[in-house]
């Protein structure tokens, strides 16, 4: 039990970061993480010690987040307009860099599945198979979501200098 709790604790910064990126609201993110930890403790017998604990925790967090989205949609409420944690007061994009405010808007327009996948891989550095496990999708689906997310972001952030790129593949 103590070791389990230590391992959960070690994952907290990563869970909070991902939850903030998904919700754009620090308090809301911590609410989700708190629910996630409580659920993990209640269900710890279901975690197989052979699998990575972190991926399992992300899976619980994602389920809670998706349930919440579903409830909000059904009630016809709006998820609060994003409260940006870091006001991106970055000077007009330097060549070769993407302005953060531009990226912030772009990530909002991605569909939910692509956003969940891209942020999990990029922010948390989970291996592709761990990320697929956390998202409960096959590896191939994860890769195609990553591809589509990146293509969409490229269009949205119109990252300047290379106007005519051929798509990969």
């Amino acid at each position: 039990m103590a070791q389990f709790l230590d391992e959960v604790e070690a994952s907290i910064p990563a869970l909070r970061r991902y939850a903030r990126a998904l919700t754009r609201n620090a308090d809301h993110a911590d609410d989700l993480v708190q629910d996630c930890i409580e659920r993990a403790i209640r269900k710890q017998t279901l975690w197989k010690p052979t699998g990575p604990l972190k991926a399992w925790l992300f899976r619980i967090l994602l389920n809670l987040y998706r349930n919440e989205l579903r409830l909000h949609r059904r009630r016809g409420e709006h998820v609060p307009v994003e409260t940006l944690l870091v006001e991106p007061s970055v000077a007009p994009a330097q060549p070769g860099r993407i302005a953060l405010n531009e990226m912030s808007r772009a990530i909002d327009t991605l569909n939910g599945e692509q956003r969940e996948a891209l942020l999990l891989v990029v922010l948390e550095g989970l291996s592709y198979s761990e990320a697929a496990d956390a998202l409960e999708i096959p590896l191939g689906t994860l890769m195609s979501r990553l591809g589509r997310a990146r293509a969409a972001l490229r269009k949205l952030t119109g990252s300047g200098e290379e106007p005519r790129l051929r798509t990969v593949k």
Partner: protein, 278 residues
């Protein structure tokens, strides 16, 4: 992965941008990109996206964890909530010991293996997962269809009524028929009934006709993110599946048990919940 099997495709390029390749693979991709400048520019774009995302959502490794997120504190709260249940298990053990049960009998009482029950619970949880997320086709036949319960009763070969859970805030949405199975865990067709409350939380009941041995069995189990409350008697087996908190599930269980088969003489047995001493 061996170097020979490594193919430079879209997946490999993502792996390169995300730093997920081995040094050999990286070198192979880098060499390939020299000859494919357009793709190289695209990959550079992906890496700039990664940088921008990392800057937008910086790591929280050095931010102190708020007290409310400390696992030890949360575990304490969870334990306190469970104390009630543990005390009852302890009381039941004392009672059985006092009744002179041998160790072997106690083992039988406490750890009875019920393969059919486990199998039906698995089915119920799987069916719950599939249909509970449906918005427009959550049920096959809507609650207001006049012949719904007669049809389902006929198909599962046991008369059932849809329990009225409105006192607990749940509305009956309707039901569907699910296939039976032959083989080791043979059972007849199952009726799935679905309920929903105002916050869109859903509960499903997975009901089959009585098991061949018509034996009474009670189980309360957690499977994945949901809880399952199962019983079997001489009329039906019923598995309640939901992700509501346990005390609420147990409360619903009693109401459902009393109404499902309209049997006034049924004895409510709350599975592993409070065992009355004395």
């Amino acid at each position: 992965m061996t170097a020979a099997k490594f193919v430079i495709d879209a997946d490999a390029l993502h792996g390169y941008a995300d730093g997920q390749l081995t040094p050999d693979q990286r070198a192979a991709v880098e060499a390939w990109l020299v000859d494919h400048p357009a793709t190289a520019a695209e990959i550079a774009g992906w890496m700039r996206q990664n940088e921008a995302l990392a800057a937008l959502f910086p790591p929280l490794d050095h931010e102190p964890t708020p007290d409310r997120l400390r696992p030890a504190a949360i575990a304490d709260t969870v334990r306190r909530g469970r104390w009630h249940g543990l005390r009852n298990v302890a009381a039941a053990l004392v009672l059985m010991a006092a009744a002179g049960s041998t160790g072997w009998v106690m083992r039988g009482m406490l750890w009875q293996e019920e393969p059919l029950a486990e199998h039906l619970i698995d089915n119920a949880v799987a069916a719950h997962a599939v249909y509970v997320q449906e918005k427009t086709h959550a049920v096959e036949v809507a609650a207001n269809s006049p012949n719904l319960m007669r049809w389902l009763s006929n198909r599962i070969d046991s008369p059932i009524d849809a329990p009225n859970l409105s006192a607990s805030g749940f509305t009956f949405l309707g039901g569907r028929l699910l296939p039976g199975e032959s083989g080791e865990h043979a059972h007849g067709p199952a009726a799935q009934l679905m309920y929903e409350n105002a916050s869109a939380e859903r509960v499903t009941l997975y009901i089959t006709g009585a098991p061949p041995d018509k034996k009474q069995v009670w189980k309360y189990e957690q499977r994945g993110n949901v809880d399952a409350y199962y019983w079997a008697d001489a009329a039906v087996t019923c598995t309640i599946v939901t992700d509501l908190p346990e005390d609420q599930v147990r409360g619903l269980g009693k109401v459902i048990f009393e109404q499902l088969t309209r049997k006034a003489d049924s004895t409510w047995n709350p599975a592993a919940a409070p065992a009355k001493v004395g």
